[in-house]
Amino acid sequence: MKVSYFPGCTLKNKAKDLDLYAYKSAEALGVTLEEIENWQCCGGVFTTARDEVATKLSSVRALKEAFSKEQPLVTVCSACHNVIKQTNHAVQNDKEFSDKVNRYMGEDGGYFGEAEVYHYLEMLRDLVGFDALKEKVVNPLKGKKIAAYYGCLLLRPGSVMKMDDPENPSIMEDFIKALGAQPVVYAKRNECCGGYVSVESPDLAKKSSNQVVQNAKMQGAEMIITACPLCKYNLLKNGADIPVVYFTELLAEALGVKEDTDEQ
């Protein structure tokens, strides 16, 4: 299976692990990630203002390319995923916005929201299948108590992201189960780490991050996994005393492809 892949700026810099393990794992699962040619940064945040058009064009270009190749567009980074899915939704549902976008794009235009956007986790669940994933696991992570941290970007707004129940999600828990480990359910898993204000208001970010880690630990977690580089940065910077790792790293480990990645 071939899919279009949008890595995003952070994955080529500070979050190389997230990217590398995503590639390796996909390969092990028989999925080829074809990187979008000349992709541009998604902008990191979806501006909800309806008159902001230019900032959303990089997403539209990526979407259009995936659509022209008749491939689903897969993202790993929570932020890219959020921006691209929300942009796609806006193109589909806000005619005024879609007209503006297509006028901006000029000859590159003619995109009306046809592409399908998958988060890497959704790809695992809906295109690969967690059962199939389970069969490919060579190092089951037996006995590990792992807390999935969704953060705010992955699930919300629920009516747009349509990834899972925004208040009681299970996709990452099912993922953890497929890898043979034991998921820890805790209520703060869909609360914000305070990432965006770590510049403006570091104390607030610290408080939010601590509450997340605390809740996960109190419910018995030994490790936290995330799909978001900013979440990882924030939790670790604010003194998380249990490991915080990208979900792709855990995946690569279970699939037995982590070692040869490390050797490279």
């Binding site: 129940d165 208040e167 703060k188 605390q214």
Partner: protein
């Protein structure tokens, strides 16, 4: 040619505000057939009606056009007026110049122009009206009540008291409904069982009442006074007439791990069970999804211990046919699922419960014998947070929740909070509310007592997130009065879940051809003046199937529905609707097209002798409409290829005349 009188109503300023009524009556004066035209402030008033009667006599009118409000409002009124003046009541036509003109158009010129056109259409139609006489049909003197909760019970008792036989169909193994699950009732705090169970016994002992428990209505045919109903009696694998309700089988049943729906899954029951001690009928029922004997033939213990020999593993579903004159819908309500509201962690912690679950937890016959214990560890909670309006009053576009106010939650939450503080005074009780709505007799006083005498902490604001952590529930909420965010470590969180109509209501409405609103509540014939009748004749509404209601309201509506049923059953004959189809036998060629589209089977065929021009006779097959069965939809008139079929009151030439008048 008719002699038509036109009467234009001002409806105070309702019509006269946007329509020049004088111009309308003047313009209609010149229409064909019109011999008299006037306008008046309130045509529906006694003076207005007298004016019509006088005009009929003075001008020898043969037809009347009233330009006024919707015919759904006052058509019946003016038909009576016409009858009082000696005219056939069906010689009246209404031009709707209020709801469909003055109220929806702002400009007086366009309003007046449209009113004149609507008036012309009505005049054109009335010119082609013919006197109609309604037929008569007999009434089956037996009523059906669907649903055996407090609404159904009260309706059945009241009908039976008047001497008419009533059948109750209840899908659960016992009657009693939601009220049987409640602990105490507001605002008097008497125990629900103490006031309900005697009524249940009355039902069981009343010789006019039959109970079909564990049964459903599977088919409804016919019409007011003459419904043909099929009731499906589900196999309960116990012979109802033999079982004594001794409970020996329940005790011996080895399969004891079935979630007990009566206690909302908070404890277990056996595969053969009696829902609760005061069940009516007090007979056992085998749950086929849990019974080993029914699933794989291994067990049979209950049969062995049953001294009466009531167990019958081979019992089949039974279908019963019965005729009824009237049907009462009392299908009730359920709390909505909390699955989509997991910001309150209902699916993440056993200690987050709904209010109905709380009722069972405080009920002496409940899973904890009335001791308030947390479901997770059995400890007694020291801090309890009640959250109101969970899923009520939501945005119509939201994918979760209901648009309406569930009405009962404010009061039962005050009751719960008060009872906790009364029994366990060292418990901290918070109630988060958006508004406290207490419009009822002694209701606000009750709520104030909860605050002032019992020290329940009412906080104006909403809970935003509940986080289970360790053995606590961390509640994050807003206090809008003090403008701060609250963080409370609670032991128990109780959600006042919105209520919705029972799922069985929608298919039932389809069977009854009774209308429902967008929330699946049954609609009443008139929201103010006919609140217990469905627009479908012979169908009546009782209790929460029509809208959220508390017990006092439900009981009064149940009584009102019963009185309507009694009024219907007391008649020996019903006057039908004369606006039915009829076939012109000279034009009919007996092709059966009309018969195939008739939803009521009102059309049959007869061989008739016709005299031909050459004085010979010929026998031809022609359609005949049974006017007692025909409901007047008109499907046949369009299906008829020869144009033989027409509809009284809405004849093809009448509608064509209206089209012509509008398009002139």
């Amino acid at each position: 040619m008719q002699r038509v009188g036109v009467f234009v109503c001002w409806c105070g300023s309702n019509i006269a505000g946007t329509v020049d009524v004088q111009a309308v009556s003047d313009a209609l004066k010149n229409e064909p057939g019109v011999v008299f035209s006037t306008n008046y402030q309130y045509m529906c008033s006694q003076a207005g009606q007298d004016m019509i009667k006088d005009a009929v006599k003075e001008h020898n009118l043969t037809g009347i056009v009233v330009c006024s409000c919707s015919p759904r409002m006052h058509e019946a009124t003016f038909r009576k007026t016409a009858a009082a003046a000696g005219l056939n009541p069906y010689m009246v036509e209404i031009a709707n110049i209020r709801e469909q003109c003055s109220w929806v158009h702002k400009d007086i010129q366009t309003g007046t122009e449209k009113a004149i056109i609507l008036g012309k259409a009505a005049v054109a139609k009335v010119n082609l009206n013919t006197p109609l006489t309604p037929g008569e049909s007999p009434v089956t003197k037996r009523a059906l009540v669907i649903g055996g909760g407090i609404a159904g019970i009260q309706t059945a008792l009241d009908i039976a008291d008047a001497g008419f036989p009533v059948d109750i169909v209840e899908k659960k193994p016992t009657i009693g409904g939601k009220m049987a699950q409640l602990d105490k009732t507001f605002p008097t705090l008497d125990c629900a069982a103490c006031i309900l169970t005697p009524k249940m016994v009355d039902v069981a002992q009343n010789e006019n009442i039959r109970i079909f428990s564990y049964s459903e209505v599977s088919e409804i045919k016919g019409f007011v006074g003459n419904f043909d109903v099929t009731i499906k009696k589900n196999a309960r694998y116990v012979k109802e007439d033999i079982c004594t309700g001794c409970g020996a089988c329940v005790e011996k049943c080895p399969m004891k791990k079935v979630p007990n729906e009566f206690n909302l899954g908070m404890d277990n029951r056996s595969a053969i069970y009696i829902p609760f001690a005061q069940a009516v009928p007090k007979v056992a029922t085998i749950d086929p999804s849990a019974c080993n004997m029914l699933k794989n033939g291994k067990c049979g213990l209950c049969s062995k211990v049953c001294a009466a020999g009531a167990i019958d593993y081979t019992q089949k579903d039974e279908y019963i046919q019965e005729k009824y004159g009237a049907i009462v819908v009392a299908t009730g309500f359920n709390p909505i699922s909390m699955d989509k509201f997991d910001e309150f962690a209902y699916n993440q912690s056993k200690d987050v419960i709904t209010s109905l679950e709380f009722e069972r937890l405080t009920n002496a016959a409940g899973p904890t014998a009335g001791h308030l214990e947390r479901p997770s560890d059995g400890k007694s909670p020291k801090t309890i947070v009640f959250v109101q309006c969970v899923g009520s009053r939501c945005d119509a576009c939201a994918e979760k929740g209901k648009e309406y106010c569930s009405k009962i939650c404010c009061m039962y939450t005050a009751k719960h909070a008060m009872l906790v503080r009364d029994k366990y005074p060292d418990t901290d009780v918070y109630v988060f509310y958006i508004d406290v709505r207490t419009p009822g007799k002694n209701f606000d006083e009750f709520y104030r007592r909860a605050v002032e005498e019992y020290g329940v902490k009412y906080v104006k604001g909403m809970v935003g997130k509940v986080t289970p952590e360790g053995d606590k529930l961390k509640v994050q909420a807003s206090d809008l009065i003090e403008n701060k965010q609250l963080h409370i470590d609670a032991d128990l969180v109780v959600l006042a879940a919105a209520i919705e109509p029972d799922k069985s209501a929608r298919p039932l409405a389809t069977m009854l051809t009774a209308s429902m609103d967008t929330n699946d509540f049954f609609t009443e014939a008139h929201p103010k003046l006919r609140p217990v009748e469905s627009p479908t004749a012979g169908v009546f509404l009782s209790g929460a199937c029509q809208g959220p209601k508390d017990i006092p309201e439900t009981v009064s509506q149940a009584g009102a529905a019963a009185s309507k049923v009694i009024g219907l059953l007391a008649k020996d004959k019903l006057t039908g609707n004369p606006c039915v189809a009829h076939s012109n036998e000279l034009m009919c060629n007996g092709c059966s097209s009309c018969e195939r589209v008739c939803p009521y089977g009102a059309i049959t065929y007869e061989d008739k002798e016709f005299r031909m021009p050459d004085r010979t006779t010929k026998i031809r097959r022609v359609a005949v409409v049974n006017p007692a069965v025909c409901q007047g939809c008109g499907a046949c008139t369009v299906a008829c290829p020869s144009g033989a079929m027409d509809l009284n009151g809405f004849a093809s030439n009448q509608i064509m005349a209206e089209v012509d008048a509008i398009c002139k």
